[in-house]
């Protein structure tokens, strides 16, 4: 039994043996999703039917979550109000947006950082303000700084000097090195104020799901893959009414990379049992790859989404990981650039102490 099966069908957990639950709790801890499992069972009113030791263990994860939620919520509100004083209205993305919007199904979701989208022309003054407020940029080499600012979609991450909270400031949705990268205005047109947090904005539900899907399928590493795919399931299920799906199809005409959306729809449906309207699926099926190629991609993603936990990994795991690693990087950078980047990183690393695949890409 894998965690993903319970996320798709929580009622399956009621009849599980304690031995199996031990494995599920282990896997949930590994993915930092124990609090989400706790709230999932609360939400479905199934918690009472679980063995008491499982109830207590699930509940123990609620406290760190509550604590983090309070801390990040406070920090996000402060950021929004400070930035609004210099006429910047940040768009909160991903986890911080789900939390500020108080979407109930996202209860228990642990966040690593706060993600903001700020239009490029407001970036300089926003960075100045953030520095004054105690947000310290991560120390990176000149090369990495250039990598972030000229080729990617965000500036080097910042960390608050007192709270230790991390902040990722994005100025675009896609890496700007890509020719196909649209101006962020197109997505910013789909931003709306967050009622409970003055000065803050989020994307509209359809744009939020669209962005989360793009974000996930532009990744090259999937240690948070299960959590991110589950996010998509929750977004589709929370907002999935007719107008949401109409907007979602409309976005395909405005933004590129519909292929990512096709994958998001396919895998939430096949691996997490999300009901996707037939019309939406058929609209996006034009992005399907040639059969053999699609099969390989599907098999690779399935392996990483369902079996990332070390005890579930199959013989195919390493191959899938490598395939998707290169797929992700080629999506974010044209091949000739990637070669230049890798060779430049290689020679820089010769002189440095630590060297790992992850560090090739900040």
């Amino acid at each position: 039994m894998k965690l993903i099966e319970l996320l798709a069908q929580p009622q399956k957990g009621v009849a599980l043996k304690l031995k199996v639950w031990s494995q599920i709790i282990r896997e949930a801890r590994y993915h930092n999703m124990l609090a989400q499992l706790y709230f999932l069972y609360q939400h479905n009113q199934l918690a009472q039917q679980l063995p008491s030791v499982i109830q207590a263990t699930l509940r123990s994860s609620k406290y760190p979550y509550d604590n983090q939620k309070q801390q990040l919520g406070y920090e996000a509100e402060k950021l929004a109000s400070q930035l609004s004083q210099i006429n910047v209205s940040p768009v909160f993305l991903k986890g911080s947006a789900y939390q500020l919007l108080e979407i109930s199904s996202f209860k228990g979701r642990i966040m690593a950082d706060i993600d903001l989208l700020i239009p490029q022309e407001q970036l300089v003054r926003s960075e100045e303000l953030l520095l004054k407020q105690g947000w310290v940029p991560k120390q990176v080499s000149n090369y990495d700084d250039k990598f972030y600012r000229e080729w990617s979609q965000e500036i080097p991450p910042m960390r608050h000097s007192q709270t230790g909270i991390e902040l990722d400031v994005h100025f675009n949705i896609f890496p700007i090195i890509l020719k196909s990268s649209p101006s962020p205005e197109k997505l910013l047109a789909h931003a709306q104020p967050i009622d409970k947090c003055p000065g803050a904005r989020s994307l509209t539900p359809a744009a939020m799901a669209y962005h989360s899907a793009i974000h996930l399928f532009f990744e090259s590493e999937f240690h948070k893959g299960l959590r991110d795919l589950y996010d998509l399931k929750l977004l589709f299920e929370q907002f999935g009414c007719d107008t949401f799906w109409e907007d979602f199809i409309q976005l395909d005409k405005e933004l590129p990379h519909g292929g990512c959306i096709f994958l998001a729809l396919t895998y939430t449906s096949s691996l997490l049992g999300t009901a996707i309207p037939e019309s939406v699926l058929s609209h996006y099926s034009k992005y399907k790859l040639p059969t053999l190629f699609q099969k390989l991609v599907d098999r690779s993603f399935e392996e990483l989404f369902t079996s990332y936990y070390p005890e579930h990994r199959s013989w195919f795991h390493k191959i899938a990981k490598n395939l998707l690693f290169w797929r992700g990087h080629l999506k974010r950078m044209p091949a000739h650039r990637l070669l230049l980047h890798l060779s430049s990183k290689f020679f820089k690393n010769l002189s440095s102490k630590e060297d790992s695949l992850e560090e090739l890409f900040p």
Partner: protein, 294 residues
């Protein structure tokens, strides 16, 4: 080296440990022999730990031990000779950072007639040594490190694990315990020399049985004070408890409620001592008089 796995019942937790290090395997067989549970039963396992050798090239030069929790390595490795102590520290860290179903105080717990004393003190003030001594004097040791309070029943649990003796206390306790109960000494740790003393059989056998907190004791070993005991006002003991609780802030309102209840349900004393027997008598007389010493 062959890896062995154990399922250990320690207080309210079931812990699985896998190790390939012979120091750890010998230590477990000696110190945890009565804690092993039958793995064929349908059992819930709280934590999956491992203590293993570091990388091969290190084994030839300066061998290391690595602590693993659920397929991750949360700490830097330590010298191989500290591997058994690393397991104890790692398990403490695991419990204090995730068992938030309990209010977790950094304190020793002992019980007599169902009534528990919770001994809280700064490191190095003689908490473990006093607990080891009291455990030979008719008290049941629940823990020398962690007091786990159940928020609903307000009962206190311990883990019935070996006692952490440091530096001079090791020699001192040889007067009270047989040689075989002392683990090999881990030298040059961040706490100096550390030796793990097997918990008395009665502690282990009843490690899952909680007790009712009745006395909070703040102790200080003082070389030139034989025995001095005095009452601690509730406000002061509340602050002491709060500052010695790992997850007080995390539990938020619930944490404060538990601390308050604990203070209201118990007497609180401050004890300075250099004589074990006088300290024991002082504690006994406080426990006997329902309103405490005047």
């Amino acid at each position: 080296m062959l890896s062995k796995s154990y399922t250990l019942q320690t207080g309210p937790f079931t812990v699985s440990l896998e190790s390939s290090i012979s120091l750890v395997k010998n230590y477990i067989q000696q110190h945890y022999s009565s804690c092993m549970t039958n793995t064929s039963d349908d059992h819930f396992i709280d934590y999956h730990l491992g203590v293993h050798h570091g990388p091969l090239y290190r084994r030839l030069l300066a061998p290391q031990a690595e602590f693993r929790l659920n397929h991750r390595v949360p700490f830097k490795p330590l010298p191989l000779s500290q591997a058994h102590a690393m397991f104890e520290w790692g398990l403490n860290w695991t419990i204090t950072s995730s068992a938030n179903q309990y209010f977790i105080i950094h304190a020793a717990v002992l019980e007599k007639n169902g009534q528990a004393i919770i001994i809280s003190a700064a490191p190095g003030s003689g908490k473990s040594t006093l607990s080891a001594y009291l455990a030979t004097q008719g008290w049941r040791l629940l823990s020398d490190e962690l007091a786990l309070i159940d928020p609903v029943t307000m009962q206190v649990y311990g883990t019935g694990r070996p006692i952490n003796l440091k530096n001079q206390s090791i020699e001192l306790m040889k007067n009270y315990y047989p040689e075989a109960d002392f683990s090999p000494i881990a030298k040059d740790t961040h706490k100096g020399e550390v030796c793990l003393l097997k918990a008395p059989e009665a502690s282990i056998a009843n490690s899952h049985t909680p007790a009712t907190p009745s006395l909070l004791l703040f102790v200080q070993y003082t070389p030139d004070e034989k025995c001095h005991i005095e009452k601690v006002p509730p406000a002061k003991s509340l602050i002491e408890i709060i500052s010695n609780t790992f997850n007080f802030g995390l539990l938020n309102q619930l944490g404060f409620d538990i601390a308050k209840k604990l203070i209201n349900n118990t007497q609180a004393y401050y004890l300075e001592y250099n004589s074990f027997s006088l300290a024991r008598d002082a504690i006994d007389s406080v426990m006997k008089s329902p309103r405490g010493l005047q």
